[in-house]
Symmetry: C2
Subunit: 404 residues, 2 copies
């Protein structure tokens, strides 16, 4: 029983947010510092990039929420604070300055950064911006969302209402995907807040399970950022009986969490750098879930297929090719492929071989901005969905000649 | 003791070649059928794509050269003969028609195709083209090279002379890389001929070892074709004592083979679809060779780095990022990065952190058409080189909107 409601990270009780321009970014019309604050100390959970090169803020956050608690999230855009000799020091100083302003413990701060790698981050603009950031806290999820955006075209925020033990709970989130003014990589940052009462252990469990089917199934360009982070704060102000074990309440929470993360995933993929189309690859009939995931990700990661989708070209051979080199155990003679959009479905391949289809109809289907690539394998019951986007001139432009 | 000589697959004694337009491709100015012929039956070896979806010609070739012998190579462009119900039949028919015309055994034919996947290949143009193809055999390596080219901009052929036991041997090759008129994928085809006497077992051993450091270290766009094939014919006409074991003669052969394959690798990478630059990533100081290869390939495969190179942007953070997610065991705090070209060397990162460098000088270095990305790890003695190319508007154009 989920209901979409207005707002993002401020939809849940007790959460306020804000976003300001403090001067890390040169463009004064762009907010570059975001804050999310919870009236009460919240259960906290997070997942981090698997890149061996990790942003300093991730190390500090990991340390800060080792006790499963947090009360605020601060995030800057314009500088990743990564590969800098004094990165940890700067991230810790940011937490300290914010904690002093909010009168909370500096160990209860989640800190994140996104932007260029390897340029020292000056603490001055952050120090200068924090008073305004804190003074302006309110129902401003959209301002926080803007503060973490870089060349993202669309803000990505969502909230849902759900019910646990007769109590109304709320969960909402904001996300940024791919694109920066001075881009280094498609850093993905996601901040989720909820007033559901849940222990930090169960919150981490729910998040760690969820990302396997959500954020880990997105690809914009195959580059895993050094600064990716997904964090959830749960402050318990909905007053449900705290979730401390698996069961119906936990399941209801996971369902709500997944509604938020799936929405944000689609938003991040569809708003990938230079993208004109969201690609959603749905695989069924795989040997197992792992094989389905491997196939789905391989397809949305294929540069050739991504370029074909940009050109609305039903080049299904590229889908077969990406399945074939995915590494999954697949009987290629049983593969079926169809494309689907708001304009209909077109079947292009059955039993591993092409079938006659109308190129005209295919073009019509593929001209839409959301494309499903439906793959049927003949190997079992495994299913998975992955999200990606098309490869466009604009992607090359953003990442190639932005300084020329 | 290697010496570059003129020519390609006809440099070795007893080999002739030809290329004609037979009508598989609509553009009559493009040759679409190529032939290489050896006067004497030759030792044959080949390696094939690892894609589970395999072109029918690969299956037929594998079967034909199971006895380690071949006398001719036939290759068409314009159609991959892959994912077709009658693919095997057509590939076998091609061998049969050619064998009849050349008066050789149909089991001594290597057959290959490159082009669009999933469109039935009509035997008629091949049948019609073979008489002209055979009648015109001569010192025409360049015509065969044209016959296998698709949207490759530059022909790729090379030959060397080397010496074994007082005898002069010759080895040469032609290759096609990425790009087709109706592209499906960057199929790579390489045909090498030599008059060196070497057993088919040792020839296969030499080839299988060589490709680990040559063709398996190239990436144009991360898509592994269904039709990739590298084959070598060695007809023994140099009259050296046949190489049947490891030793000095085998080493001399391997050195010559590697000179051919490395040249063709660089040609394929630099002439990748839409490419304006050859990228050569040289890693040293890795824990072991495997780690060095993993890092080198990860870097040349990064879309973000490839786009940065297109823009001549010394965005070394993207190099660090690609090292970090490569999966190799690397101490990221010891990584050094430099860029090098004909205009000089510029060091941009030491001990995992940025150092001051002249952006102007970096731009000058990166504006060149051949760029070395020099990575020094601090983990051991492992070394590797990988080749790739930049990511450009033209890549998107070729693969995206060629039908619009």
């Amino acid at each position: 029983m989920l209901k979409q409601i207005k707002g993002g990270v401020c939809a849940a009780k007790g959460f306020t947010a804000n976003g300001v321009h403090c001067g890390i970014r040169k463009n004064k019309t762009k907010r570059d510092l975001a804050l999310i604050y919870s009236e009460k100390i919240a259960s906290a959970a997070a997942t981090y990039t698997t890149n061996l090169v990790k942003g300093a803020p991730l190390t500090v956050t990991k340390n800060n929420i080792a006790d499963g608690k947090a009360q605020a999230v601060i995030c800057n855009s314009g500088n990743a604070n990564t590969c800098n000799a004094n990165g940890i020091e700067i991230a810790e100083k940011t937490c300290e300055l914010l904690a002093n302003a909010l009168k909370i413990d500096k160990k209860d701060v989640v800190v994140a950064s996104t932007g260029v790698i390897g340029q020292p981050l000056d603490i001055t603009p952050i120090q200068k911006g924090i008073p305004e950031l804190v003074a302006g806290l309110g129902d401003y999820s959209h301002l926080a969302c803007e503060g973490i955006m870089t060349t993202d075209v669309k803000p990505k925020e969502i909230a849902f209402e759900f019910f646990i033990g007769g109590k109304t709970c709320r969960i909402g989130g904001i996300a940024k995907g791919s694109g920066m003014i001075h881009p280094n990589m498609a850093t993905m940052l996601v901040f989720v807040t909820t007033d559901c009462a849940i222990s930090s252990a169960m919150l981490q469990k729910a998040l760690s399970a969820d990302i396997q089917d959500s954020f880990n199934m997105i690809s914009v360009d195959g580059d895993t950022s050094t600064n990716d982070m997904v964090s959830v704060l749960a402050n318990g102000m909905a007053e449900n009986a705290e979730i401390t074990t698996e069961g119906a309440d936990y399941d209801a929470f996971c369902e709500a969490l997944n509604a938020v993360t799936t929405y944000l995933c689609r938003g991040i993929a569809g708003d990938g750098e230079g993208a004109t189309k969201l690609l959603e690859c749905k695989v069924c009939g795989a040997k197992d879930t792992a094989a389905a995931k491997t196939v789905a990700k391989s397809v949305v990661c294929s540069s050739l297929l991504k370029a074909a989708m940009f050109g609305a070209d039903a080049n299904w051979g590229r889908v077969l090719c990406a399945i074939g080199y995915s590494g999954a155990d697949v009987d290629v003679n049983k593969v079926g492929v169809a494309f689907r959009s708001n304009k209909g479905v077109i079947v292009v391949c059955e039993n591993g071989a092409g079938i006659d289809f109308s190129e005209e109809k295919a073009k019509e289907v593929l001209m839409e901005s959301e494309i499903e690539i439906l793959i049927t394998l003949g190997d079992g019951d495994g299913k998975a969905t992955a999200w990606g986007c098309d490869l466009t001139y604009e992607y090359v432009k953003i990442n190639g000649d932005y300084r020329t």
